[in-house]
Amino acid sequence: MGTSERLNMPLVWGLRILCSVLFFGAWEYAVRLGWLDPFFFSSPVEIYTQIIAWLSGQEIYYDIYITIGETLLGFAIGVLIGMVTGFVFARTPMLAAVFDPLFVVLNAMPKLALGPLFIIWFGIGISSKVAMAVVIVLFLVFFNTYQGVREVSQDLINNARILGASRWSVLRHVLFPSALGWIFSSLRTSIGYALIGAVVGEYMVAQHGVGHLIASAQANFDTTGVFSGLIILMLLVWVIDVVIQRVEEKLTAWRGQA
């Protein structure tokens, strides 16, 4: 968060670590005491061992590379399309009126059901996973950009127009900075969805990738493998999220203290 730098960061980290320790401790404890069945829940120690084993091998890096590649590519394309359509729709009420229900409805389409079409159109390589990530991310970014632009103060737009701003300048100097908070909020959500899209794509059909790893583990009742894969994914998302937040902080440096 933008405000975190003014908080006591060592304390924040302390609490984060404390909570993690408590959580994983309780989990391990519950498994050992037989309250949780390791068949379904594995155990932190086993997961840790598995992750270490993976990380000391080589294949996992290729899987990660593939999945992150799909995720970032899908994210970038989805964000681009979503943002552009969001801006255009917000500034063109007629277009929005005609097509906005379509977006809501397409957003609600279970993409899983379109698997075969994705394969026909995009093959079984990474493109079909990227496409899956794109269609998921696109809508989220679209809706937030659309709303963000509609919430921009009309007074500021008026001032910009008086000051001689072209349509593009209004976009660049008013709409975009004003909607930035919303766009970033949607980016933080979207990165997760991009990953989900890529993983769902890998579930659907894949030779590599962490999603494929998880799906295979699942097929073998290897809960440890499933959780280990999930944790690797989550760590990746966390890293990307930190990057997004740094960028946001840079871009919204003008904001006052909350």
Binding site: S153, D155, L156, N158, N159, A160, R161, I162, L163, G164, A165, S166, S169, H173, V174, P177, S178, L180, T252, W254, R255, G256
Partner: protein, 282 residues
């Protein structure tokens, strides 16, 4: 001094003393503005506005709070069209924002994500002025409004009066031909206000620039203007247009001591008083 009641034909205002052209520049023809709310109720902001502003004149608008002064400025700016009637500049009906206009809004409309410098530069950059030139001119204006040292502050780090002055610099920096100003100086202390008024006189005096100025301070209106327009209370109509017959260049702080000043003041004030006294608290 010419006094003209509303509805009389447009006066033949003499501006030759300052070497200005005489042609009607901004024409407001029987304009009214109605606001319709979501329930369909209609509220009349201003009505039957008929006003001709010559190129190079300095027109002040005074009237009770809520009579439609800002509404009129907004229509001249092209940001919002009249409900009936027509606003013309140089004979052409205004359909959109004009490139040669400045508008100092009553509200605070600085870009919060830009520094003082960024805000003041922006109209120049919008107009394609070279970055370093824009920078130079912006810094010059920041100094003129007394904000040297605050170039890199963001609006939220400034006081109310300082923000108003940034707005002023933002408008003056690109030297628009028509300047619309909505109560620009009311948040300033006396001295800063005087300095800003003199700055405005300087900008306007030298050239054919046209100013439409809204204020609640009749002294200020008289001190600055070639014409003072008095509005009736809401729904605003033009009650009278006065031509102020004082010589230019004027020193705003001194002009009050001109012998003619109190006379003009009394005349307009008696007219205005009727309006402002009439509203509310019934």
């Amino acid at each position: 001094m010419t006094v003209r009641e509303r509805g009389a034909s447009q006066p033949d205002v003499r501006a030759e003393q300052r070497g200005q052209a005489l042609a009607p520049y901004i024409e407001i023809r029987d304009v009214s503005k109605q606001f319709v709310n979501k329930k369909g109720t209609v509220f009349t902001g201003v009505t039957e506005i008929e006003l001709t502003i010559e190129k190079g004149s300095f027109v002040s608008i005074v009237g009770p709070s809520g009579c439609g002064k800002s509404t009129l400025l907004t229509m001249i700016s092209g940001l919002s069209g009249p409900t009936t009637g027509d606003v013309l500049i140089e004979g052409k009906s205004i359909r959109d924002v004009q490139n040669n206009m400045g508008f100092l809004f009553q509200k605070d409309v600085l870009f919060p994500w830009k520094t003082v410098l960024g805000n003041v530069e922006s109209p120049l950059l919008f107009r394609g002025v070279d970055k370093s030139e824009a920078n130079r001119r912006a810094l010059e204006w920041i100094a003129k409004v007394g904000l040297k040292g605050f170039e890199h502050h963001y609006p939220h780090q400034l006081s109310g009066g300082m923000r108003k002055r940034v707005s002023m610099a933002q408008t003056f920096v690109y030297d628009p031909e028509v300047i619309l100003m909505d109560e620009p100086f009311s948040a300033l202390d006396v001295h800063t206000r005087n300095r800003m008024e003199n700055e405005l006189m300087e900008i306007w005096g030298g050239s054919g620039r046209t100013v439409v100025f809204v204020t609640h301070d009749l002294e200020e209106a008289i001190a600055l203007s070639t014409h003072v327009v008095v509005f009736t209370k809401s729904p605003g109509r033009i009650k009278a247009v006065y031509e102020v017959d004082l010589p230019y260049p004027r020193n705003v702080a001194e002009i009050k001591f001109e012998p003619k000043f109190p006379e003009i003041y009394q005349m307009i004030w008696s007219d205005l008083r009727e309006e402002v006294a009439g509203h509310g608290h019934e």
